[in-house]
């Protein structure tokens, strides 16, 4: 079955530290890849996405992610986190063959940034 794994369930960092959150998926074909973020009390919002082209994608708020096809990975990075980055981060995959739009999510990573 298709699945998405996020290795870090809970990450605690100090401000200005660098961030990398892992995401791996199990699907052999073409995929669309997403990172969503949920700030406390707010809706899930899109951080960035990869559909095709340059495997290094840049998103909002200084986040970026790199798609490495050979590793089935789409890790999220930020060089210097801020307290306001405290949130839940979800990686999601949509198989390219899907005509239903169904997203398959990882179980999320809670990021806590200490001021």
């Amino acid at each position: 079955a298709q699945s998405v794994s996020q290795h870090n369930h809970h990450v605690i960092l100090s401000e200005a530290a660098s961030l990398e959150l892992g995401c791996n998926y199990s699907y052999g074909g073409t995929v669309n890849l997403f990172w969503y973020v949920q700030y406390p009390g707010q809706h899930l919002q899109l951080l960035l996405k990869y559909f095709s082209g340059d495997p290094l994608v840049k998103g909002i708020k200084g986040f970026e992610a790199e798609f490495i096809k050979s590793k089935f990975s789409f890790n999220l990075r930020k060089p210097s986190v801020q307290w306001s980055d405290t949130a839940e981060y979800f990686c999601a995959v949509r198989p390219g063959s899907s005509n239903t739009g169904k997203l398959i999510f990882g179980q999320g990573t809670t990021l806590q940034v200490k001021p």
């Binding site: 669309n32 997403f34 009390g41 809706h43 899930l44 239903t100 739009g101 169904k102 179980q107």
Partner: protein, 113 residues
């Protein structure tokens, strides 16, 4: 204005009751979805509707019945609530099915006692 709004935000109820969660989107999208976030925080698709037509029904018990009165609304009605229904339910919408970005609401936390 919130693009995808769900009401209520919190819902506490007793086993056996029937409850509804409402979802509205003001983005003019054709497709709407319901996801359930389980205790391990995985979000899993339950239903999707495209132009008021059911597209996905992902092996959800038939106690769950989505209703789409128009393209802007997709409500979720749950009959005979069980303890295992306790979860956070997320509504989402996209411009069209298959390829578009999905926009999510803030979730409804349902607690069944």
């Amino acid at each position: 204005d919130t693009a995808v709004s769900q009401t209520p935000k919190y819902l506490v109820t007793q086993m056996g009751n029937d409850k509804s969660i409402k979802c509205e989107q003001n983005l003019g999208h054709d497709t709407m979805y319901w996801y359930k976030q389980d205790s391990k925080k995985f979000l899993k698709i339950m239903f999707s509707y495209n132009n008021k037509e059911l597209i996905i029904n992902e092996t959800v018990p038939n106690r769950f019945s989505p209703k789409s009165p128009d393209k802007a609304h997709l409500n979720l009605h749950i009959n005979s609530l069980e303890l295992g229904d306790s979860a956070v339910y997320f509504c989402a919408s996209s411009q069209e099915i298959g390829i578009s970005i999905q926009y999510f609401g803030a979730g409804t936390r349902l607690s069944v006692l």
